[in-house]
Structures are given as C-alpha cells and as structure tokens.
C-alpha cells in the first residue's frame, strides 16, 4: 500500500509531463516512419521495418534513464525525498516505487514500436522471447536511471543523461551495423549491452534460432543484474545521507 501510494505519485509525475510523453512515446514513432521512408527509397536493409524496430525501441529506452534519474534528483534537490525519508517508508518501498512506474511506460513504448513496425510492413517472428529481451534492457535502463538519480544532482544528471543517450544512440548499432564500422567503435559497442540486445532481437525477429543468441543474452542479463544492485546500493546511500 505504501509502495503503491508513492509509485502512483511517480506514475502521475511521468504521465503529466509533456516532455516525457513526446520524447518517450512520440519520438520513436516519428523515427520509425522517417527511417522506413529512407528504406523505401534506398533499400538500406538495416532500415527495413523488421530490423529497424529493435534499434529505435532500445534508443527510446535510453530516455527512461534520463526521465527516472531527473525525477529522483529533483525530488532530492527540492527536499521532497527528505520529507519522505522521515516517514515510515523502508528502502525497498522507495526503490520499488521509483522503478515500477517505468515498467508500464517501457511496455507502452514496446507496444507502440511493434505496432508501428507492423503498420509499416514488418513481419515479426519469435515475438515473445524478443519481448523478454526488451524487458531486460528497459529494466537495465530504469536501474541506471535510479543509480544516477540517487548519486548525482539535477545538473549532473542532465549532462550525464544526454551523454548516455548519445552513447547509446551511437554505440548500440541502432542506425548502423557495428561490424561494418569495426575498430574501437565495435569494441565499445559490444562492451555495452545495447548492441547485444539489438543483435539478439534482430536474429529472433527474422526467425532465427534461440540458440543463436546465447552469446548476446549473457551480457544483457549481466548488465541487468549489475545495475539492479547499483540501483539498490546507491539509493540506500542516498537514504543514509538524509
């Protein structure tokens, strides 16, 4: 009940912010339409609706990092969190309440992107396991947001958040094939979970075997677990600092 009260506040805070809605939900649709019109003219394969969808979706998850970290750091800065720290909420209540509302948000993003993909003519296979991968990556983004929000100030979070969005956009392979670029670009890209998630999703969506994605799945899961713990630890640290 206590978690629900706070998470429903956080939920409203998300959905009443026009910027969150436009960047998180409208932008991906726009990008999908834009890139698929390029595909229609130039037939660049990675911009085909089936292959484009995972990239756009994972890029739009990167905004969750920004939204959730800004929400927490703002709550810290205007003492709203300080006030809540004097109430009988436990650390687990806080962490859940700041994470839960982004799950329906990420699911809405997923649904919107998949429907737009279908509308643009994509033919998706293996949709259920792919949803699992999307869930893991979106949850990693939520945990990254909570970690940053708990540790940094609003200004720092805005800077680091924008940087991360750019990094994810460039190094996830959403707009280009990292193997073709090669070199340091490829190395960095595959040191992060995003390119792995996109690769795995592409393989599955084109009808590939689940066994073909194991090497990609491992880093995705590892990052999810790591950031889940950093989120818990950093929020606990914030509570301790009052």
């Amino acid at each position: 009940m206590k978690t629900l009260s706070l998470s429903s506040r956080n939920f409203k805070e998300i959905y009443r912010d026009p910027l969150t809605i436009s960047l998180g939900l409208a932008l991906p649709v726009l990008l999908m339409i834009l890139f698929s019109s390029i595909f229609k003219r130039a037939q660049v394969e990675i911009f085909s609706p089936t292959l484009l969808t995972p990239g756009v979706l994972i890029f739009s998850f990167s905004f969750i990092i920004m939204f959730s970290s800004v929400l927490i750091s703002k709550d810290k800065e205007n003492s709203f969190l300080t006030r809540l720290f004097t109430t009988p909420l436990k650390p687990s209540h806080f962490i859940l309440a700041y994470m839960l509302p982004y799950i329906p948000f990420a699911l809405t993003q997923t649904l919107i992107c998949i429907l737009t993909g279908v509308f643009l003519g994509a033919d998706f296979q293996n949709i259920l396991p792919v949803l699992g991968i999307f869930f893991l990556i979106s949850f990693t983004c939520i945990c990254m947001g909570v970690t940053l929000g708990a540790l940094l100030s609003v200004n720092q979070v805005s800077a680091v958040g924008s940087l991360l969005i750019t990094v994810i956009s460039l190094f996830s392979g959403a707009w280009m094939d990292l193997h073709m670029v090669g070199g340091l670009f490829e190395t960095i890209g595959y040191a992060l979970p995003f390119a792995h998630a996109i690769d795995a999703a592409k393989i599955l969506l084109r009808g590939g075997e689940t066994t073909g994605i194991m090497k990609n799945l491992f880093p995705v899961i590892a990052y999810t677990v790591v950031f889940f713990f950093t989120a818990i630890l950093s929020f606990r640290k914030t509570i301790k600092r009052g």
């Binding site: 629900l4 009260s5 003492s79 720290f85 004097t86 009988p88």
Partner: protein, 308 residues
C-alpha cells in the same frame, strides 16, 4: 498535559568534516509543549531537527523521541513524527489534495481515511481544492500545503522548520492560529526567524548561536534576564544641547531623535531626569517606555538581528 519528556536531547553533536554544525545540544521537551529554537542563519537549528527526525546520524550524543533512541530502530520514531522541512517539499505535478493523500498513503492510512483527513486539513489551512498542479500555486500556498502534509498522519510530535517562511501576514496569522489550536495536544518543535512568532506560540525558547544553545527559558524569563537596559522615549521639541550634556554627565546614554530624545540605561534616575529637563524649561509632550521584546534579548545574545 503530562510532564514526561516527549523529546529529550543529550549532548547532541554533529560535525560535517571539520565544520561543527551542532555542539553538545541538550534539552527536554515535555509532551504537549511548544518549544522554539531561535538562532541566526547557520546556527544549527535545521541540523538539530534533522538528527531528531532520524535523517542525520549524530557524530556524538543521543536523543530520545517518546522514549525511543534515535540511533536504533528509527521506524518507531518515523511513525509518530510529522516534519515540515525548511524547504517547501511538495510533489509539483500533483494537486493539493493528491499531495495530502500521498502523505496519508505513505503513513499507511487507507484511501478513505486519507481523503477524510485531507479534506479536514484543507479546511483548516484554508487550502482550496484546486485542480492546479502544486507547482503552479503561489509560494505561500505551497508553504501551507507543505505544513498540512506534515499533519496528515496526525503525528504526536511535530517538527516545523521555519513554517511561516515567505507567508504574507494574513497567512502567517492563520498558521499561528492553527499551531495555537494544537497546543497541549501535540508536542511541537518549531524554528523561526520571526521572534514574535516564538513569543506568542512557544512555551519555551532556546537560542542557538554558532552551533550551541546559549540560553533557554520561557519568553518572560528571557526578557527579564536580559532586558536590564531600558529605553525611554521623550517627545519634546525644545530640548537644547545644554540639557543633553547635563544628562550625559549624570551617566545617561542619550540619543537625539527627530521627535525628541531617547535615553537608554540601567534604571535611569527619574528624579534627576525631570529636574534637569525642568531647569531648562523643556516641555515634555509625551513619555514612552516600550515593553522589552524578544528581539532585544536575541540581539544582546547573538549580536545580530533575527530576521535576515
């Protein structure tokens, strides 16, 4: 009113690195008492409150809230306290009612109880049930909402850190009226820079300066103790430097004002004063001896005015 201590601080000390924010602060606040902490900016009031409501761990010393030590099992304490922080701490995207219901919810009240309590508090604090998000309310309304949020759980103990900061005189009065109503019922620790607020509301006052409590007592005790120097305003328009010099020779501290003179001193001798004024045919139009105020005590103790 019972006499048991609701809040008991013993040698509370907090250092931030090398900065000594609070040093050896001790006091007992009885149940139902309103206790006011006064002090200049940076004196350590907020830090003291933060330690008492388990937000900060003291560097040394201890305190008990209704018998529960602050350094172990803070949950018991958090259930019985309400805090209105110095900053206006509200959820900007929620409206007034939603903010209040949220506080009810995090304290474990049911939705129905929360709604009822929110309704009562909005009436009492003269908060309209507007649909506007709280971030769009005026500063004063946000402040009142912030105080009301501290009251949602009907706490036994209330910490109000500068509750009337930024309120207009009317709103300030209505907050005072409300706090007055809680007198005897709730234990309240209140900090303020408005000395008349402490004077009219608080049963006892502690004055903090440079991280320490330097004086404590009821308002009248403090005034009696520190207002040995009285001021006398004499309204006249024909006093000359001759009489002023004569008064000064008698050891009186005389200041010429636009309407006459102001004499300050430890019990100035009235007979001598009148004799001198008469000898110069000075026409006295009015004599006024202002009541000592808490401001005088504050300035004497801290060397500064209270209101920044």
């Amino acid at each position: 009113m019972q006499n048991k201590a609701a809040i008991s601080a013993k040698e509370l000390t907090k250092h931030f690195g090398s900065r000594k924010a609070v040093q050896h602060v001790s006091f007992d606040i009885k149940q139902g008492e309103i206790f006011s902490l006064l002090g200049t900016n940076g004196a350590g009031k907020t830090t003291t409150i933060k330690m008492l409501c388990c937000l900060l761990k003291p560097t040394s010393g201890n305190a008990q809230i209704m018998g529960n030590p602050i350094n172990q099992g803070t949950m018991k304490i958090k259930r019985i306290i309400g805090v209105s922080p110095q900053e206006t701490a509200i959820a900007g995207h929620l409206n007034t009612r939603e903010n209040l219901i949220l506080m009810g919810g995090v304290h474990g009240l049911s939705q129905k109880e929360s709604k009822k309590k929110a309704h009562q508090l909005m009436d009492l604090m003269e908060l309209e049930d507007r649909r506007d998000q709280a971030r769009k309310l005026s500063g004063g309304l946000q402040r009142r909402l912030s105080i009301a949020m501290a009251l949602m759980s009907d706490p036994q103990i209330l910490f109000l850190d500068e509750p009337t900061l930024g309120l207009d005189p009317h709103a300030r009065k209505s907050v005072w009226n409300y706090i007055e109503k809680l007198k005897g019922e709730k234990t309240i620790l209140l900090t303020t820079h408005y000395l008349e607020e402490a004077d009219s509301l608080a049963d006892r006052i502690a004055i903090m300066n440079k991280s320490k409590i330097i004086e404590m007592g009821t308002s009248s005790e403090l005034k009696k103790k520190y207002n040995t120097r009285q001021t006398l305003n004499i309204k006249t328009n024909n006093i000359t430097t001759k009489e002023i010099e004569m008064l000064q020779q008698k050891g009186m501290d005389v200041l010429q004002t636009p309407s006459g003179i102001e004499i300050t001193g430890n019990n100035p001798d009235f007979y001598t004063l009148v004799d001198i004024l008469r000898s110069g045919n000075v026409k006295i139009e009015a004599i006024h001896m202002p009541e000592p105020t808490l401001d005088d005590v504050f300035i004497q103790l801290t060397g500064k005015e209270a209101q920044p």
